[in-house]
Amino acid sequence: MLKILKYSFYDLMRSRWSYVYFAFYLLLGVVLLFLNNDLSKAVITLMNVIIVLVPLIGTIFGVMYYYSSKEFTELLLAQPLKRSSIFLGQYLGVAISLSMSLILGLGIPFIFYGLFMSNAIWDFSLLLITGVFLTLIFTALAFNIAISNENRIKGFGYAILMWLFLAVIYDGLFLMSLLFFEDYPLDKLSLFGTMLNPIDLSRTLILLKLDISALLGYTGAVFKQFFGTNFGLIVSFAALTLWIVLPVLRIVYKSKRKDF
């Protein structure tokens, strides 16, 4: 698996998309910091970018890579290699190279700006960690979609739809159901609803840092426990990890049963 990972990674590191992605983040970081001159605000803007764009890029990139490396995959399949190592290797290759672009692209301008001297470093690290989680999750989801759809157009369509659903539509439905059931105690429901969407989960993690003052204004006991202690942080990270593990397991499962 490590060998496949290595080659996929090299392959991607050489493709121009990785540079585009890297350059995009670099530019974003530079613009936010040096035009704004306000680290805290930059971190908040970045949060918005990260929870929307990172999943989108992970999704598109994952689907694209899967389809474009199909022949290469077939070449590998005829070699004495385990199927799971081929797909996991490719998956990790994409996810790691995307994560690297993210970390370096944003990290470099922030370091130059003097991040290490600032107390925004924790917020910023949390942002990057969340970004990496989202990359891992959405690349895995994208691989799942691609592996289940031979037709590229369909695959792309479903992938974009999935992103749109998790990034926007889900929250709309979520909000409507909260308003609809407002006469009932909702704190468990709302936390549960958050766990079901990795974008919401990551958002919650960031809220724990940026908006804790507002979140502590609510009376529900579960809310209080979740936001007032480390419980929320631990549960969110556990759920995010689960969000990586489950799609990856499905990649392994599907790849073992797929014809090429």
Partner: protein, 403 residues
């Protein structure tokens, strides 16, 4: 000031002295005398001071009330109490026992006391023209029903409360029917109810105090002509927590205060003609929450930095002026480079209405969907007051002059 006259005597109290108790010293003292109490522990309670004397502790002697009720009661003018550690006040549900109570007196100075294991700390009752300086009050309050206030003023006038450190009591400083009180340089932290509490008190000044992690920072209720300046109010967290509560307060001036990381920076209700200027609202859940019936207020030259919500409103009616503030959430531009954004800023988000209605929806804060509905509301206001905006939002954070 009670300067001892040429005829005054000094009576010394210590374990090996002829006079061994403070009680005895007070009995022997005559007007204008000084009682010097040496270091040691004095188990005495219900000490009544009914003449103008000065009590000075040397090396912080301890007066242990052994929970027998009140410890010192002052019922004479021009009494000075300086440098004692007073512990174990009796707790009662019917009588407000205090470590030091001053009744119907003038010209008192209460300073450098350390109060512990108390019910009420320093209780001023119908007393005027005195000072409460540099005392340390450390309670062990858990709920507001079984605890008292550190510094309590009831029907008092012209009192200076300065440099006190009050912790873990019910209200750090409490004023009821008290006017012309100056509250400066105090440090009020971890109190279960309010850091500072005003009821029906007018013409008071609150300057340079720090309020931290109290149930709520300052509560101003049913009062007018107040001045609140240069205070730091931070980390008041919880479902009923706020940095500053303004309820039925008129003609107050709030200037140069810093509100950091409070669930709500300011909650305001039924308050008119207030001026909020040069304040910093940083990382609060809500910077200002307007609950209704607030008219002719001016919110100018403040910094609103990274608050989850800048302003929250209940109704659609607005009679308050927002002008020349800096809003970190402002996304406009300044083409004519005059430092003022070219498009107005609307500080009230639609989402704050939704959260008011269904609090659990807070979990959706900062989601793309919420941003979208907030944006559409911004473009064409339906639920939020359409005239509520800052016409001249600043492009740069204001550097306040804080001296």
């Amino acid at each position: 000031m009670s300067i001892p006259s040429a005829w005054s005597n000094t009576i010394t109290v210590c374990a090996s002295c002829p006079i061994k108790t403070i009680q005895e010293a007070i009995q022997q003292a005559s007007e204008g005398d000084t009682i010097l109490v040496k270091k040691g522990i004095y188990k005495e309670a219900n000490l009544k001071i009914d003449k103008s004397i000065t009590l000075i502790g040397e090396g912080l002697p301890t007066i242990d009330g052994e929970a027998k009720g009140e410890i010192i009661t002052i019922e004479a003018d021009n009494v000075t109490l300086d440098g004692f550690k007073i512990i174990n006040v009796g707790v009662s549900y019917t009588t407000d026992y205090a470590a030091v109570r001053i009744v119907n007196s003038k010209g008192f100075i209460i300073q450098n006391l350390e109060l512990e294991k108390l019910f009420f700390g320093i209780y001023l009752q119908k007393s005027n023209n005195g000072k409460v300086l540099n005392n340390k009050v450390k309670g062990e309050a858990v709920t507001e029903f079984t605890s008292g206030n550190a510094i309590h003023l009831w029907y008092c006038k012209n009192v200076e409360v300065r440099g006190n450190d009050v912790r873990k009591v019910r209200d750090g400083i409490y004023l009821e029917f008290s006017d012309n009180i100056t509250i400066t340089d105090n440090f009020s932290v971890n109190n279960v109810r309010y850091g500072l509490h005003f009821m029906f008190s007018n013409n008071n000044t609150v300057n340079n105090n720090v309020f931290e992690t109290n149930g709520a920072g300052i509560a101003l209720m049913f009062s007018k002509f107040m001045e609140v300046k240069n205070n730091v109010i931070k980390k008041n967290w919880g479902s009923a927590a706020y940095g500053l509560l303004l309820k039925e307060v008129n003609d107050a001036n709030l200037k140069n205060n810093i509100f950091i990381e409070n669930t709500v920076g300011i909650t305001v209700e039924g308050s008119n003609r207030l001026v909020y200027s040069n304040n910093d609202f940083t990382s609060n859940g809500y910077a200002i929450r307007v609950k209704g019936a607030c008219y002719e207020n001016h919110i100018v030259d403040n910094n609103f930095l990274y608050n989850s919500f800048d302003i929250s409103y209940n109704g659609r009616i607005n009679d308050n002026k927002f002008n020349n503030n800096f809003w970190s959430n402002y996304t406009g531009y300044d083409l004519d480079k005059d430092g003022i954004g070219d498009v107005p800023y609307r500080p009230v988000k639609l989402f704050s209405y939704i959260v008011n209605r269904t609090p659990e929806t807070i979990i959706l804060l900062r989601s793309l969907f919420i941003d979208l509905i907030d944006f559409s509301e911004k473009v064409s206001p339906v639920f939020t007051p359409d005239d509520l905006m800052d016409d001249n939002p600043r492009m740069k954070r204001i550097e306040h002059d804080r001296n």
